[in-house]
Symmetry: C2
DNA sequence: GTTGAAATTAGTACGAA
DNA sequence: TTCGTACTAATTTCAAC
Protein backbone atom coordinates (compact mmCIF):
# COMPACT_ATOMS: atom_id res chain seq x y z
CA UNK A 1 0.00 0.00 0.00
CA UNK A 2 1.14 3.47 -0.70
CA UNK A 3 1.79 6.15 1.83
CA UNK A 4 -0.62 8.97 1.24
CA UNK A 5 -1.27 10.74 4.48
CA UNK A 6 -0.75 14.21 5.71
CA UNK A 7 0.79 15.15 9.00
CA UNK A 8 -1.39 15.01 12.10
CA UNK A 9 -1.39 17.58 14.85
CA UNK A 10 1.50 17.54 17.21
CA UNK A 11 0.43 17.29 20.78
CA UNK A 12 1.73 16.59 24.22
CA UNK A 13 0.42 13.17 25.12
CA UNK A 14 -0.13 11.90 28.60
CA UNK A 15 -0.43 8.39 29.88
CA UNK A 16 -4.06 7.48 30.28
CA UNK A 17 -5.74 4.19 30.95
CA UNK A 18 -8.49 2.57 32.91
CA UNK A 19 -8.64 -0.72 34.75
CA UNK A 20 -7.18 -3.77 33.01
CA UNK A 21 -5.45 -3.55 29.70
CA UNK A 22 -2.46 -2.07 28.05
CA UNK A 23 -0.73 0.79 29.75
CA UNK A 24 -0.76 3.37 27.00
CA UNK A 25 2.25 5.61 26.70
CA UNK A 26 2.98 8.59 24.51
CA UNK A 27 4.04 6.38 21.63
CA UNK A 28 0.78 4.47 21.71
CA UNK A 29 -1.14 7.72 21.53
CA UNK A 30 0.97 8.88 18.65
CA UNK A 31 0.14 5.66 16.83
CA UNK A 32 -3.56 6.14 17.47
CA UNK A 33 -3.26 9.72 16.34
CA UNK A 34 -1.80 8.66 13.00
CA UNK A 35 -4.28 5.82 12.59
CA UNK A 36 -7.15 8.17 13.23
CA UNK A 37 -6.35 10.13 10.12
CA UNK A 38 -5.18 7.27 7.99
CA UNK A 39 -6.43 3.87 9.01
CA UNK A 40 -4.92 2.29 5.91
CA UNK A 41 -1.37 3.38 6.45
CA UNK A 42 1.15 0.54 6.34
CA UNK A 43 2.83 -0.36 9.56
CA UNK A 44 6.16 0.51 7.99
CA UNK A 45 5.02 4.04 7.19
CA UNK A 46 3.38 4.28 10.59
CA UNK A 47 6.68 3.42 12.24
CA UNK A 48 8.42 6.15 10.31
CA UNK A 49 5.87 8.80 11.22
CA UNK A 50 5.87 7.86 14.87
CA UNK A 51 9.63 7.66 14.96
CA UNK A 52 10.08 4.07 16.04
CA UNK A 53 11.41 0.97 14.38
CA UNK A 54 9.20 -1.22 12.24
CA UNK A 55 9.40 -4.17 14.58
CA UNK A 56 8.35 -1.97 17.45
CA UNK A 57 5.50 -0.59 15.42
CA UNK A 58 4.29 -4.07 14.56
CA UNK A 59 4.42 -5.12 18.18
CA UNK A 60 2.53 -2.11 19.43
CA UNK A 61 0.07 -2.15 16.59
CA UNK A 62 -0.78 -5.75 17.26
CA UNK A 63 -0.97 -5.12 21.00
CA UNK A 64 -3.43 -2.28 20.55
CA UNK A 65 -5.54 -4.49 18.35
CA UNK A 66 -5.42 -7.52 20.63
CA UNK A 67 -6.07 -5.38 23.67
CA UNK A 68 -9.21 -3.98 22.12
CA UNK A 69 -8.05 -0.39 22.27
CA UNK A 70 -8.39 -0.42 18.50
CA UNK A 71 -11.78 -1.96 17.97
CA UNK A 72 -11.74 -2.03 14.18
CA UNK A 73 -10.79 -0.19 11.05
CA UNK A 74 -13.39 1.39 8.90
CA UNK A 75 -13.97 3.68 5.96
CA UNK A 76 -15.72 6.97 6.49
CA UNK A 77 -18.24 7.59 3.78
CA UNK A 78 -20.17 10.57 2.49
CA UNK A 79 -23.76 9.90 3.44
CA UNK A 80 -25.16 12.25 0.88
CA UNK A 81 -23.26 10.66 -1.98
CA UNK A 82 -24.33 7.26 -0.76
CA UNK A 83 -27.94 8.38 -1.01
CA UNK A 84 -28.73 8.95 2.64
CA UNK A 85 -28.91 12.71 2.86
CA UNK A 86 -31.30 13.00 5.77
CA UNK A 87 -30.08 12.67 9.32
CA UNK A 88 -32.35 12.91 12.32
CA UNK A 89 -32.12 12.50 16.06
CA UNK A 90 -34.91 10.76 17.87
CA UNK A 91 -35.10 11.12 21.62
CA UNK A 92 -36.93 8.18 23.08
CA UNK A 93 -38.65 7.70 26.38
CA UNK A 94 -38.50 4.02 27.18
CA UNK A 95 -40.93 2.19 29.41
CA UNK A 96 -39.29 0.88 32.54
CA UNK A 97 -38.13 -2.72 32.46
CA UNK A 98 -38.57 -2.98 28.73
CA UNK A 99 -35.06 -2.04 27.77
CA UNK A 100 -34.25 -5.50 26.60
CA UNK A 101 -37.04 -5.38 24.06
CA UNK A 102 -36.03 -1.91 23.00
CA UNK A 103 -32.47 -3.01 22.37
CA UNK A 104 -33.61 -6.03 20.43
CA UNK A 105 -35.79 -3.94 18.17
CA UNK A 106 -32.99 -1.46 17.61
CA UNK A 107 -30.75 -4.15 16.22
CA UNK A 108 -33.37 -4.80 13.59
CA UNK A 109 -33.39 -1.23 12.33
CA UNK A 110 -30.61 -0.77 9.80
CA UNK A 111 -31.18 2.96 9.44
CA UNK A 112 -30.05 3.49 13.02
CA UNK A 113 -26.42 4.51 13.10
CA UNK A 114 -26.07 5.33 16.77
CA UNK A 115 -27.99 4.82 19.97
CA UNK A 116 -27.01 5.96 23.41
CA UNK A 117 -28.69 5.84 26.78
CA UNK A 118 -28.72 9.27 28.33
CA UNK A 119 -29.59 11.09 31.50
CA UNK A 120 -32.11 13.88 31.23
CA UNK A 121 -35.75 13.97 30.34
CA UNK A 122 -35.43 11.29 27.71
CA UNK A 123 -33.93 7.86 28.10
CA UNK A 124 -32.19 7.30 24.81
CA UNK A 125 -31.09 9.15 21.75
CA UNK A 126 -30.91 7.48 18.37
CA UNK A 127 -29.47 8.87 15.20
CA UNK A 128 -30.83 7.68 11.88
CA UNK A 129 -29.80 8.14 8.24
CA UNK A 130 -32.40 7.92 5.53
CA UNK A 131 -32.89 9.15 2.00
CA UNK A 132 -35.82 11.52 2.53
CA UNK A 133 -37.83 13.16 5.25
CA UNK A 134 -40.86 10.96 4.67
CA UNK A 135 -38.80 8.04 5.85
CA UNK A 136 -38.12 9.75 9.13
CA UNK A 137 -41.81 10.08 9.66
CA UNK A 138 -42.39 6.49 8.66
CA UNK A 139 -39.62 5.33 10.93
CA UNK A 140 -41.04 7.09 13.95
CA UNK A 141 -44.73 6.50 13.46
CA UNK A 142 -44.65 3.06 11.91
CA UNK A 143 -41.69 1.40 13.50
CA UNK A 144 -40.81 3.07 16.79
CA UNK A 145 -44.37 3.77 17.78
CA UNK A 146 -45.11 0.10 17.27
CA UNK A 147 -42.67 -0.96 19.95
CA UNK A 148 -44.38 -1.35 23.34
CA UNK A 149 -41.16 -0.34 25.07
CA UNK A 150 -41.36 3.07 23.46
CA UNK A 151 -43.44 5.44 25.52
CA UNK A 152 -42.82 8.62 23.56
CA UNK A 153 -40.42 10.16 21.07
CA UNK A 154 -39.20 13.57 20.10
CA UNK A 155 -37.58 14.07 16.73
CA UNK A 156 -35.25 16.78 15.50
CA UNK A 157 -33.50 17.03 12.17
CA UNK A 158 -29.83 17.59 11.70
CA UNK A 159 -29.34 20.52 9.36
CA UNK A 160 -25.58 20.36 9.21
CA UNK A 161 -22.76 18.37 10.72
CA UNK A 162 -20.28 21.02 11.67
CA UNK A 163 -17.59 18.86 13.14
CA UNK A 164 -16.94 15.17 13.16
CA UNK A 165 -13.73 13.79 14.51
CA UNK A 166 -13.06 10.08 14.15
CA UNK A 167 -12.43 10.07 17.86
CA UNK A 168 -10.92 12.15 20.59
CA UNK A 169 -7.69 11.21 22.33
CA UNK A 170 -6.41 12.34 25.71
CA UNK A 171 -3.30 13.50 23.90
CA UNK A 172 -5.42 16.08 22.10
CA UNK A 173 -6.21 17.93 25.29
CA UNK A 174 -3.74 20.74 25.75
CA UNK A 175 -4.30 21.61 29.37
CA UNK A 176 -4.56 18.37 31.24
CA UNK A 177 -2.53 19.87 34.08
CA UNK A 178 -5.30 19.35 36.58
CA UNK A 179 -6.19 22.73 38.06
CA UNK A 180 -5.08 22.42 41.75
CA UNK A 181 -8.30 23.78 43.15
CA UNK A 182 -11.36 24.23 40.94
CA UNK A 183 -11.22 27.95 41.51
CA UNK A 184 -14.70 28.93 42.60
CA UNK A 185 -14.43 32.42 41.22
CA UNK A 186 -14.55 32.07 37.44
CA UNK A 187 -13.96 35.74 36.90
CA UNK A 188 -16.86 37.22 35.02
CA UNK A 189 -18.37 34.16 33.40
CA UNK A 190 -22.14 34.49 33.43
CA UNK A 191 -23.48 31.22 34.71
CA UNK A 192 -27.11 30.42 35.30
CA UNK A 193 -28.10 29.49 31.83
CA UNK A 194 -26.08 26.32 32.00
CA UNK A 195 -28.25 23.38 32.95
CA UNK A 196 -27.13 19.92 33.89
CA UNK A 197 -29.82 17.34 33.58
CA UNK A 198 -29.48 14.21 35.66
CA UNK A 199 -31.14 10.88 35.13
CA UNK A 200 -34.86 10.53 35.62
CA UNK A 201 -36.05 8.74 38.74
CA UNK A 202 -35.40 5.04 39.08
CA UNK A 203 -33.12 4.74 36.09
CA UNK A 204 -29.83 4.55 37.89
CA UNK A 205 -29.22 0.85 37.39
CA UNK A 206 -30.64 0.47 33.92
CA UNK A 207 -27.41 0.83 32.04
CA UNK A 208 -27.06 -2.83 31.24
CA UNK A 209 -30.47 -4.27 32.09
CA UNK B 1 -1.65 -6.81 4.43
CA UNK B 2 -3.41 -9.87 5.65
CA UNK B 3 -7.02 -10.72 5.15
CA UNK B 4 -8.69 -10.93 8.51
CA UNK B 5 -12.30 -10.01 8.17
CA UNK B 6 -15.51 -11.76 8.83
CA UNK B 7 -18.43 -11.91 6.46
CA UNK B 8 -20.71 -8.91 6.33
CA UNK B 9 -24.47 -9.02 6.09
CA UNK B 10 -25.93 -9.91 2.75
CA UNK B 11 -28.42 -7.40 1.56
CA UNK B 12 -30.33 -6.34 -1.51
CA UNK B 13 -28.66 -3.16 -2.68
CA UNK B 14 -30.27 -0.52 -4.75
CA UNK B 15 -28.75 2.24 -6.79
CA UNK B 16 -28.65 5.42 -4.80
CA UNK B 17 -26.98 8.71 -5.47
CA UNK B 18 -27.50 12.43 -5.29
CA UNK B 19 -26.56 15.19 -7.68
CA UNK B 20 -23.10 15.08 -9.26
CA UNK B 21 -20.76 12.23 -8.64
CA UNK B 22 -20.40 8.57 -9.18
CA UNK B 23 -23.48 6.57 -9.98
CA UNK B 24 -23.27 3.91 -7.34
CA UNK B 25 -24.38 0.42 -8.26
CA UNK B 26 -24.79 -2.75 -6.27
CA UNK B 27 -21.10 -3.56 -6.57
CA UNK B 28 -20.10 -0.19 -5.15
CA UNK B 29 -22.35 -0.76 -2.18
CA UNK B 30 -20.92 -4.18 -1.65
CA UNK B 31 -17.45 -2.66 -1.61
CA UNK B 32 -18.53 -0.06 0.93
CA UNK B 33 -20.15 -2.77 2.96
CA UNK B 34 -16.91 -4.73 3.17
CA UNK B 35 -14.86 -1.60 3.85
CA UNK B 36 -17.17 -0.63 6.64
CA UNK B 37 -16.21 -3.71 8.60
CA UNK B 38 -12.62 -3.89 7.55
CA UNK B 39 -11.11 -0.67 6.35
CA UNK B 40 -7.67 -2.25 6.18
CA UNK B 41 -8.52 -5.06 3.85
CA UNK B 42 -6.29 -5.30 0.81
CA UNK B 43 -7.82 -4.50 -2.53
CA UNK B 44 -7.03 -8.01 -3.66
CA UNK B 45 -8.99 -9.54 -0.80
CA UNK B 46 -11.72 -6.97 -1.31
CA UNK B 47 -12.05 -8.04 -4.93
CA UNK B 48 -12.41 -11.63 -3.88
CA UNK B 49 -15.09 -10.91 -1.32
CA UNK B 50 -17.07 -8.73 -3.67
CA UNK B 51 -16.69 -11.17 -6.51
CA UNK B 52 -14.93 -8.99 -9.06
CA UNK B 53 -11.48 -8.96 -10.58
CA UNK B 54 -8.61 -7.23 -8.91
CA UNK B 55 -8.30 -4.69 -11.68
CA UNK B 56 -11.95 -3.82 -11.38
CA UNK B 57 -11.67 -3.56 -7.63
CA UNK B 58 -8.76 -1.15 -7.94
CA UNK B 59 -10.67 0.99 -10.41
CA UNK B 60 -13.79 1.19 -8.29
CA UNK B 61 -11.90 1.61 -5.07
CA UNK B 62 -9.98 4.52 -6.50
CA UNK B 63 -13.13 6.01 -8.01
CA UNK B 64 -14.93 5.92 -4.67
CA UNK B 65 -12.00 7.62 -3.06
CA UNK B 66 -11.53 10.24 -5.76
CA UNK B 67 -15.25 10.91 -5.87
CA UNK B 68 -15.32 11.60 -2.16
CA UNK B 69 -17.81 8.87 -1.40
CA UNK B 70 -15.12 7.41 0.79
CA UNK B 71 -13.90 10.36 2.79
CA UNK B 72 -11.13 8.66 4.71
CA UNK B 73 -10.11 5.54 6.54
CA UNK B 74 -9.86 5.48 10.25
CA UNK B 75 -9.40 3.25 13.27
CA UNK B 76 -12.20 2.89 15.76
CA UNK B 77 -10.89 3.02 19.29
CA UNK B 78 -12.16 2.12 22.72
CA UNK B 79 -12.63 5.44 24.49
CA UNK B 80 -12.54 3.90 27.92
CA UNK B 81 -9.26 2.13 27.30
CA UNK B 82 -7.86 5.31 25.87
CA UNK B 83 -8.71 7.09 29.10
CA UNK B 84 -11.76 9.05 28.05
CA UNK B 85 -14.53 7.19 29.78
CA UNK B 86 -16.97 10.06 30.13
CA UNK B 87 -19.20 11.05 27.25
CA UNK B 88 -21.69 13.87 27.41
CA UNK B 89 -24.05 15.68 25.09
CA UNK B 90 -24.35 19.41 25.34
CA UNK B 91 -27.29 21.07 23.68
CA UNK B 92 -26.44 24.62 22.89
CA UNK B 93 -28.58 27.61 22.15
CA UNK B 94 -26.58 29.92 19.93
CA UNK B 95 -27.04 33.64 19.64
CA UNK B 96 -28.26 34.66 16.23
CA UNK B 97 -25.62 35.79 13.78
CA UNK B 98 -22.82 34.53 15.93
CA UNK B 99 -22.53 31.13 14.36
CA UNK B 100 -19.23 31.93 12.79
CA UNK B 101 -17.71 32.63 16.16
CA UNK B 102 -19.30 29.55 17.61
CA UNK B 103 -17.81 27.38 14.89
CA UNK B 104 -14.41 28.95 15.32
CA UNK B 105 -14.42 28.26 19.04
CA UNK B 106 -15.52 24.69 18.47
CA UNK B 107 -12.50 23.98 16.35
CA UNK B 108 -10.37 24.93 19.31
CA UNK B 109 -11.96 22.38 21.61
CA UNK B 110 -10.26 19.04 21.16
CA UNK B 111 -12.64 17.21 23.47
CA UNK B 112 -15.49 17.80 21.05
CA UNK B 113 -15.97 14.76 18.87
CA UNK B 114 -19.13 15.75 17.09
CA UNK B 115 -21.21 18.86 16.56
CA UNK B 116 -24.40 19.12 14.57
CA UNK B 117 -26.85 21.92 13.95
CA UNK B 118 -30.34 20.76 14.75
CA UNK B 119 -33.93 21.82 14.56
CA UNK B 120 -35.87 21.92 17.81
CA UNK B 121 -35.56 23.97 20.91
CA UNK B 122 -31.79 24.02 20.80
CA UNK B 123 -29.58 25.05 17.95
CA UNK B 124 -26.72 22.63 18.16
CA UNK B 125 -25.72 19.42 19.84
CA UNK B 126 -22.13 18.67 20.71
CA UNK B 127 -20.71 15.43 21.97
CA UNK B 128 -17.62 15.49 24.13
CA UNK B 129 -15.27 12.85 25.51
CA UNK B 130 -13.36 13.51 28.68
CA UNK B 131 -11.75 11.52 31.46
CA UNK B 132 -13.97 12.49 34.35
CA UNK B 133 -17.21 14.26 35.14
CA UNK B 134 -15.50 17.28 36.59
CA UNK B 135 -14.15 18.02 33.15
CA UNK B 136 -17.64 18.13 31.74
CA UNK B 137 -18.51 20.76 34.25
CA UNK B 138 -15.35 22.67 33.52
CA UNK B 139 -15.95 22.44 29.82
CA UNK B 140 -19.45 23.85 30.08
CA UNK B 141 -18.94 26.51 32.69
CA UNK B 142 -15.43 27.62 31.86
CA UNK B 143 -15.21 27.21 28.15
CA UNK B 144 -18.65 27.22 26.57
CA UNK B 145 -20.11 29.77 28.92
CA UNK B 146 -17.28 32.07 28.02
CA UNK B 147 -18.26 32.20 24.39
CA UNK B 148 -20.53 35.17 23.66
CA UNK B 149 -22.22 33.18 20.91
CA UNK B 150 -23.47 30.69 23.47
CA UNK B 151 -26.75 31.79 24.97
CA UNK B 152 -27.53 28.69 27.03
CA UNK B 153 -26.63 25.04 27.33
CA UNK B 154 -28.21 21.86 28.54
CA UNK B 155 -26.03 18.90 29.38
CA UNK B 156 -26.85 15.23 29.61
CA UNK B 157 -24.53 12.32 30.22
CA UNK B 158 -24.30 9.24 28.10
CA UNK B 159 -24.62 6.21 30.31
CA UNK B 160 -24.12 3.62 27.63
CA UNK B 161 -23.60 3.46 23.92
CA UNK B 162 -25.94 0.72 22.87
CA UNK B 163 -25.29 0.72 19.16
CA UNK B 164 -22.69 2.32 16.97
CA UNK B 165 -22.46 1.46 13.32
CA UNK B 166 -19.59 2.88 11.30
CA UNK B 167 -22.20 4.15 8.89
CA UNK B 168 -25.49 3.21 7.35
CA UNK B 169 -25.83 2.27 3.71
CA UNK B 170 -28.96 2.34 1.56
CA UNK B 171 -28.24 -1.30 0.79
CA UNK B 172 -28.88 -2.11 4.44
CA UNK B 173 -32.49 -1.10 4.24
CA UNK B 174 -34.60 -4.14 3.53
CA UNK B 175 -37.87 -2.58 2.48
CA UNK B 176 -36.92 0.25 0.17
CA UNK B 177 -39.88 -0.63 -2.02
CA UNK B 178 -41.45 2.77 -1.62
CA UNK B 179 -44.92 2.31 -0.20
CA UNK B 180 -47.17 3.45 -3.10
CA UNK B 181 -49.38 5.60 -0.92
CA UNK B 182 -48.33 6.43 2.65
CA UNK B 183 -51.37 4.61 3.96
CA UNK B 184 -53.05 7.06 6.30
CA UNK B 185 -54.52 4.30 8.44
CA UNK B 186 -51.61 2.78 10.33
CA UNK B 187 -53.78 0.09 11.86
CA UNK B 188 -53.73 0.42 15.60
CA UNK B 189 -50.52 2.33 16.14
CA UNK B 190 -51.02 4.74 19.00
CA UNK B 191 -49.75 8.08 17.79
CA UNK B 192 -49.87 11.29 19.73
CA UNK B 193 -46.80 10.80 21.85
CA UNK B 194 -44.60 11.25 18.84
CA UNK B 195 -43.39 14.79 18.52
CA UNK B 196 -41.58 16.36 15.63
CA UNK B 197 -39.77 19.51 16.52
CA UNK B 198 -39.04 21.97 13.73
CA UNK B 199 -36.47 24.69 13.66
CA UNK B 200 -36.86 27.73 15.86
CA UNK B 201 -37.90 30.97 14.23
CA UNK B 202 -35.49 32.75 11.93
CA UNK B 203 -33.02 29.92 11.75
CA UNK B 204 -33.92 28.58 8.36
CA UNK B 205 -30.97 29.97 6.44
CA UNK B 206 -28.32 29.55 9.10
CA UNK B 207 -26.97 26.25 7.95
CA UNK B 208 -23.87 27.66 6.37
CA UNK B 209 -23.75 31.21 7.64
C1' DG C 1 14.22 -2.15 20.92
C1' DT C 2 16.75 -1.97 16.42
C1' DT C 3 18.47 -3.13 11.83
C1' DG C 4 18.92 -5.74 7.49
C1' DA C 5 17.80 -9.25 4.21
C1' DA C 6 14.40 -12.96 2.43
C1' DA C 7 9.81 -14.18 1.29
C1' DT C 8 5.41 -12.75 0.45
C1' DT C 9 2.02 -9.73 -1.03
C1' DA C 10 0.41 -5.53 -2.99
C1' DG C 11 -0.11 -2.27 -6.81
C1' DT C 12 0.45 -1.23 -11.94
C1' DA C 13 0.22 -1.87 -16.79
C1' DC C 14 -0.91 -4.11 -20.32
C1' DG C 15 -3.71 -6.88 -24.08
C1' DA C 16 -7.89 -9.64 -24.78
C1' DA C 17 -12.73 -10.57 -24.32
C1' DT D 1 -16.14 -2.05 -18.68
C1' DT D 2 -14.27 -5.94 -17.07
C1' DC D 3 -10.96 -9.67 -16.77
C1' DG D 4 -6.49 -12.15 -16.60
C1' DT D 5 -1.77 -12.07 -16.51
C1' DA D 6 2.85 -10.55 -16.06
C1' DC D 7 5.91 -6.97 -14.12
C1' DT D 8 7.51 -3.88 -10.56
C1' DA D 9 7.52 -2.04 -6.03
C1' DA D 10 6.41 -2.23 -1.35
C1' DT D 11 5.31 -4.58 2.90
C1' DT D 12 5.72 -8.10 6.41
C1' DT D 13 8.35 -11.55 8.58
C1' DC D 14 12.30 -13.33 10.70
C1' DA D 15 16.79 -13.63 12.43
C1' DA D 16 20.88 -11.51 14.24
C1' DC D 17 22.66 -7.50 16.74
Amino acid sequence: MREMSREGGESGPRSGRIGIGLELDAVHFKILDVLRENGRISVAALAERVGISRANAYTRFEALRADGTIKRFTAEIDHVRAGLGITALIFVTVRQQMWRQFRAELARMPEVEYCAITTGQHDAMIQIRVSDVAEVHAMVTERLAGIPAVKATETVFILDEVLKRPYVLPSDHPRQQRRPAPDPSPADVPLGKMRFVGAAEGRAALRKE
